[in-house]
Symmetry: C2
């Protein structure tokens, strides 16, 4: 490591979460404690695109108070993007451009806050900097509501979505139970998770007794069996007077097609407007005759900082801090992770994984987390999920609304004369 301070670059990548800014807060607050080692922290405006286009944000113009407020502010304070760098062989120019920008701004630390694709990028940037002899410390910071990164016990962002989903289906369950005698008997809540059922499974935490909502969960891992499902719905209505269902947006039919897309067309023959919840609800209405309501939480679930999991916030912050600590300790091409020490009482610590081991490996939900009938979660799943939604971490409020911070996001003056086209 150099004794002369060098600048750091931090970027947010992919879909944002309720706590990705808590990681940013951890990075920046920790960097500010080491002015002898880290100069300025530059953030990529709209993620890695900001680096490619030399559109950097100088976070040193932000007050300590505003940076601290990132901890309780959802979404990506510097902007994120869904831009995936191609392989080195495919588009070497992108990596060279990144390093050109970093060199121009004396960036010695690269912190990339994202999911599996992003950690693949982090790893390639590390390889490229080594190959070109440009000294750069590359540290990934995990983030994804999908909870699909390997090695780490869980991913920051997931715990808060999980809490939102479990709280919401519990509340809606109480509502429907009140009305079921003469009105709505079916409630269907659609949640995220196109490829894995982690988020849908989290809804199951609310069902602490068989009578408590949700009664059924439809996972993307289990092909939709219409007849079997309808029989389950009927059983729940008979037993409990109503049926509350959590359905993953990624539910697929027997042919492997998304149920959300398979069913319906609009008046013009276009694929229907989206949403598996209305399809499932309508199916029940047609076949069993029950009145239904449905909800699609969409972005509300991943932005819901107001009901974030304290565990999630603490871990997101700790991972941001650990990323800087690891960089300063001389680590490279690694990602701090969550290591679970025990379920009950829940204890965790920060560990580390090699980016090469994280990149492009997707973690699936174990089949033994889903009950044999395919509609619920097992005790093992509950044991894993429960600590992740534990604790509340309320943001401050003003006039009845959460006070989230919007940063100045002042641009760093450009130094390069070349531009770079994003394709």
């Amino acid at each position: 490591m150099s004794a002369t301070p060098r600048n750091a670059f931090y970027a947010q990548s992919g879909g944002v979460t309720a706590v990705i800014n808590a990681s940013a807060c951890g990075v920046i607050e920790t960097a500010r404690k080491h002015p002898d080692r880290i100069g300025r922290v530059y953030a990529g405006r709209n993620g890695i695109i900001g680096a490619l286009t030399e559109d950097l944000i100088d976070t040193s113009f932000e007050s300590d108070t505003d940076i601290a407020a990132l901890r309780h502010t959802p979404a990506g304070a510097f902007g994120s993007c869904r831009y995936k760098l191609k392989g080195l062989d495919k588009n070497r120019a992108e990596y060279e451009r990144l390093l050109e920008v970093f060199r121009a701004h004396d960036v010695g630390y690269f912190f990339y806050n994202g999911g599996g694709d992003s950690q693949d990028t982090s790893n390639k940037v590390a390889e490229m900097s080594r190959a070109l002899g440009y000294p750069l410390t590359c540290i990934g910071i995990p983030k994804t509501v999908d909870n699909d990164l390997p090695i780490t016990d869980n991913c920051p962002g997931f715990g808060s979505v999980a809490k939102y989903v479990a709280v919401s289906i519990r509340e809606a369950g109480f509502d429907v139970a009140s009305m079921a005698k003469t009105s709505t008997k079916i409630f269907v809540m659609e949640v995220m998770g196109r490829h894995a059922g982690w988020i849908a499974a989290a809804g199951g935490l609310a069902s602490t007794t068989p009578a408590a909502a949700p009664h059924l969960i439809l996972f993307p891992e289990i092909r939709f069996d219409e007849a079997g499902f309808l029989a389950q719905v009927e059983r729940c209505v008979q037993a409990y007077g109503y049926c509350a269902i959590v359905v993953s947006e990624g539910l697929r039919n027997a042919e492997g097609k998304f149920v959300a897309e398979a069913g319906t067309r609009d008046a013009f023959g276009h694929a229907q407007l989206g949403g598996v919840a209305p399809v499932v609800a309508q199916l029940i209405k047609e076949r069993l005759g029950y009145k239904y309501h449905w909800a699609v939480a969409d972005y509300l679930q991943r932005a819901a900082r107001h009901i974030a999991s304290r565990t999630d916030v603490e871990q997101a912050y700790a991972l941001g801090r650990a990323a800087v600590d690891m960089a300063l300790a001389g680590d490279n091409a690694v990602m701090p992770i969550i290591v679970r020490l025990s379920d009950e009482p829940y204890r965790w610590e920060i560990g580390r994984a090699l980016l090469a081991d994280v990149a492009n490996v997707e973690r699936k939900m174990p089949r033994d987390f889903i009950t044999p009938d395919g509609y619920g979660i097992t005790p093992a799943c509950r044991r894993y999920l429960a600590p992740l939604i534990a604790g509340e971490d309320y943001p401050p409020y003003r006039d009845g609304l959460p006070e989230y911070v919007s940063l100045k996001n002042q641009a760093v003056p450009r130094k390069l004369t070349t531009s770079f086209a994003i394709n």
Copy 2:
């Protein structure tokens, strides 16, 4: 008033809310303080149907702790129903049956917790008991998320939906703003309010600057002007990089038809599966080409006790307490109401209205609460709404989830040999 204690009957009516149980809590806790005047508080199982079918719940089996927990438990603890009693001329038998059940159980107090229809019923029950010489004190307790009762400044249940909607669109706005550069530029959130725009208007509270979400509100009071709306969306995307929209489920097109129903058919030619949000989002996609996301909050919004307005909880409780106080003071055929004393600082007190003046009168949102262009709220509207979402009143949590109470709901032994068919 008699010196011998008589029993009370309490029922919840219509769609439930995050705070209707707080009113129940106010009723029962206050009644328990007057054992010399009020014997047992019976609740109608599933609302007024419980009275008609002599299916009463004896709340005296519930502990003080559980009754206190009603204050932080959403939905209807005794069940509600959408059963509307007909006029006295149409179905006199229903009213006679009610009084027969009340007589059998020595019910001297009738507390009916609901909206305009319910207060019409309360009033008719009062008339009927007078006509038949059965001594019964009838007190209405206001409740409706639609905020459409007259005379009272606002309705319990509305403030909490309003807070949920404002918080949610603020959070989703932060999310979309983060992603807009390369991904989603449009977010459409559908909210309740089939006939009045109060709930949609509440979303506007989050927009404390022109750049802050929501940028546009689509009210049921304003006919949908497709071209004008699309021009507004384009303006917002140009100005802010994205556009966040709150749309009322009651939005109507130029012909006066619900937009949710007008647009689309499924593959089988059925009316589409519901939701105006996807219709509006798809329109923007087709005409302007922007990537969208949409959410339908449905029951989540009215059940969201976790983010209830403290003002709303306090008022709901105070109205329940006031109902009992009024009954004991000798009032009859009245409803306690909220009287606003000042906007800033917000001060309110309990007043009273005659049920005859409340019954079947619907309060509309004033046109001057909507901006001239039809897409936002005016300062007058903000002044009215702001205090109603003020303050938080978090429920207790256990294992990361709110601890809501489920009561024993033990039945009162039947005394009548006759049954009554609900039609």
